[in-house]
């Protein structure tokens, strides 16, 4: 692994962050806010540290897979630290721990916050906070790939280390084209949602911030009450539709809009995913009506928003689900575990893996019944290789193991059971809210610092899909030995 190559690309990552920091600085400058110095100085530091490697390191013609993986993992870690600098410099509720937690939560599009009063932030800081979602949603590394000049093998190496193998099943194109498609879909959805929210009555600033948070499936809001602040059914319906769209495979969305046969209406996985969401909405709505206090309309309004919000890993809220009956809570916890689809901006186990798990299980049962038979696992009419199947199973096992260990450590920190359990699930799944002390309209400020660090690592592990991080560190340890 060539350190100078990694340093060069990490420099690009910092420069990309600096771009959004300058935009936030401009907002603070025009509104004469006290966040001008923190934002501007953070932008300057990112620019200088980003430019520095470019002075020395020559043009790179090729990057191997290990270097690509290191750029991806270290790029995410570096970007989270860089993103915490403006928060830390601004002060207020942001201690170093809180600033880092907020930054990691923003970039990984988790959307969990330590802020008790979001509205105390300046517009510049709020924009920066939403920008971390926008940058992290599609992945900072992919953004960097988009602006890099094309060189043999560079995009492919970095891209394959950033995106899971499962999400590539729907693509039979070169990495360059895939990166472009993802970016086109991402930016188009964001622009469209900004316009719709603006028309529906949000201020332009709020519309931009909420669009960043929705399409990136993040969940940061500019209001303490999140979406509940607007109390507008049409805004909620629009956000529900866009949260759902953002939770689908971006490649399939693109193919749908371009009239390809392989689209979201023909995909069996998407059909199953949509069906499970609909069942979840109905079950929660019926449970809410049964428990009293909700009319049919209200029950479906809130259940559809909350179910889609959690399964898409957005985590935006229209009310505090902590007061909902236990049955509804359990269903919501299921969606926090299941999460969105591969190839989307969502995190977590991802529905495709659960689907593949059951397909694989079906194949195993058939093999037990007919040991001489030849069976294959298929997803959307494509044969899944044994290697990919094995990788998926390993991922699910690791995911559950990490979630269990983190819950255990949190419980050891004297955090109550439901808070520890849901904090662990929600952070590794990059969802946002949980239950107990961290419910949808609460925040993570009450947790001890050690828990915040642990959850930050958990969020990053979830965003980087666990295996990449473990593989990289195994490579680094072996190299040192």
């Amino acid at each position: 692994m060539r350190t100078k190559v990694i340093a060069k690309y990490l420099g690009y990552v910092l420069l990309f962050n600096a771009l959004f920091l300058y935009i936030s600085t401009a907002i603070s400058f025009f509104l004469r806010e006290n966040s001008l110095t923190p934002l501007l100085y953070s932008a300057v530091v990112c620019t200088i540290l980003g430019l520095f490697p470019q002075i020395f390191v020559e043009k790179i013609d090729e990057i191997n897979f290990r270097e690509g993986m290191a750029i991806s993992v270290f790029g995410w870690i570096l970007t989270c630290f860089a993103g915490a600098v403006p928060y830390f410099m601004w002060g207020g509720e942001f201690t170093f721990t809180n600033a880092l937690f907020e930054s990691v939560s923003g970039y990984t599009t988790t959307g969990s916050t330590i802020l008790q009063n979001v509205e105390a932030l300046t517009k510049g800081m709020l924009f920066w906070r939403s920008s971390t979602h926008f940058i992290g949603g599609v992945g900072i590394i992919l953004f960097v790939l988009l602006i890099l000049p094309d060189s043999k093998g560079i995009r492919t190496s970095i891209y394959r280390s950033e995106v899971s193998g499962l999400s590539l099943m729907n693509f039979s194109m070169r990495a360059k084209r895939i990166v472009r498609i993802i970016s086109i879909v991402y930016i188009s959805l964001t622009v469209l949602l900004i316009l719709l929210l603006w028309i529906l009555g949000m201020s332009f600033f709020d519309a931009v911030c909420h669009s960043f948070a929705t399409i990136a499936t993040g969940g940061f809001s500019t209001k303490n009450l999140s979406i509940a602040y607007y109390n507008n059914v049409w805004i909620e319906v629009t956000l529900t539709v866009f949260m759902y769209l953002s939770s689908l495979h971006f490649g399939l969305l693109f193919l749908t809009f371009t009239g390809n046969k392989n689209n979201i209406f023909t995909s069996k996985v998407i059909k199953a995913y949509t069906l499970i969401i609909l069942i979840g909405i109905i079950l929660v709505a019926v449970d809410l009506i049964r428990s009293g206090g909700y009319s049919w309309g209200e029950a479906f309004r809130h259940s559809s928003f909350q179910v889609v919000s959690l399964t898409s890993t957005t985590g935006a809220a229209t009310l505090d689900t902590e007061s909902w009956p236990l049955f509804s809570k359990i269903i919501l916890i299921y969606f926090t575990i299941q999460c969105a689809m591969v190839g989307s901006t969502g995190g977590g186990i991802k529905f495709d893996r659960i689907y593949l798990f059951f397909m694989s299980l079906k194949r195993r049962i058939k093999l037990i019944q007919h040991p001489q038979g030849i069976y294959v696992t298929k997803m959307n009419n494509s044969i899944v290789t044994d290697e990919l199947e094995l990788q998926t199973m390993a991922f699910i096992i690791l995911y559950i193991l990490i979630f269990f260990v983190v819950t255990l450590i949190l419980a050891a920190m004297n955090i109550d059971g439901i808070t520890a359990f849901t904090a662990s699930i929600t952070s590794i799944g990059n969802v946002g809210p949980g239950f107990g002390k961290i419910s949808s309209l609460s925040n993570f400020s009450g947790l001890p610092d050690a828990a915040k660090y642990l959850l930050s690592v958990n969020m990053l592990l979830g965003r980087l899909e666990i295996l990449n991080v473990i593989t990289l560190f195994v490579i680094l340890i072996k190299k040192n030995q």
């Binding site: 110095t37 501007l40 410099m89």
Partner: protein, 254 residues
């Protein structure tokens, strides 16, 4: 990427200098804000608090003047009332010209309104010039006392508003002084990262090629031909390698 070593070193240090200069400018701006906050507290809020104290003092005097008047010391009483009236008007004028808090003018309007009621009542008493019985005097004094307390309450509210402003400014000062330190703290961390990176690049682009060149020269023998120190960049070290090879070639010719 810059080609020459001189340009690389110069640009690196310029970047470092730029970062430190900007940090210094920002710290100065933030410390200046601390200074402005102190000025706000001392000049504005404290001035308003002083005036509310003057108002309270004058109000007490006016009340004493009324008491003196009712007790029979009419001349001194009237003089005290007139003096207090002028002192309150003066304090109100200064406070009105020194609005520092949101809605402070409304608080001052309320003080004026309540004080006008109290003063009118006092003046009606002194202008009447009647002989009252002890019970009547008590009755008059109690009526005025109610207006006196209402006025005092509005003045106290005005004072509280400015005191809250002082606390707010103090918090702001604390926040600004913390922010003034932040560029320095971030600069220290960034400078450490910068130094580590610089160390790595110097080793990668200066020391290692020179070491390879030294090794090449050390292990060179006439039959070997050229020295190849595997220097890929077109910088001064590459030129040195070429010149050494030229020298070897010239020596061979001789």
């Amino acid at each position: 990427m810059l080609k020459s070593l001189r340009a690389k070193i110069f640009s690196s240090f310029m970047l470092l200098v730029l970062m430190l200069v900007i940090a210094a400018i920002m710290s100065i701006i933030e410390f200046n804000k601390v200074g402005v906050s102190i000025k706000n507290v001392m000049d504005d809020n404290y001035k308003s608090i002083e005036q509310t104290k003057n108002m309270l003092d004058a109000l007490e005097r006016e009340d004493s003047g009324l008491l003196m008047y009712l007790m029979g010391n009419r001349e001194t009483g009237s003089q005290t009332i007139d003096y207090a009236y002028s002192a309150i008007q003066n304090a109100i004028r200064v406070a009105r010209n020194n609005i520092t808090e949101k809605d402070e003018d409304k608080y001052i309007d309320e003080v004026i309104k309540e004080y006008e009621k109290f003063h009118t009542s006092v003046k009606q008493t002194t202008d009447a010039s009647e002989r009252w019985t002890l019970e009547e005097k008590n009755e008059i004094y109690l009526q005025n006392q109610q207006l006196f307390f209402a006025t005092k309450k509005t003045i106290n509210e005005l004072m509280q508003l400015n005191q809250d402003g002082v606390y707010k400014q103090t918090d702001l000062m604390k926040e600004n002084s913390k922010r003034a330190m932040m560029p320095a703290i971030v600069s220290i961390v960034a400078a450490i990262v910068f130094a580590l990176l610089l160390n790595f690049f110097i080793s990668e682009y200066f020391i290692n090629p020179i070491n390879r060149l030294i090794e090449g020269v050390k292990t060179h023998y006439p039959e070997k031909g050229r020295i190849d120190a595997k220097i890929r960049l077109e910088d001064e070290i590459k030129t040195l390698e070429s010149e050494i090879n030229n020298l070897i070639a010239r020596l061979k010719v001789k």
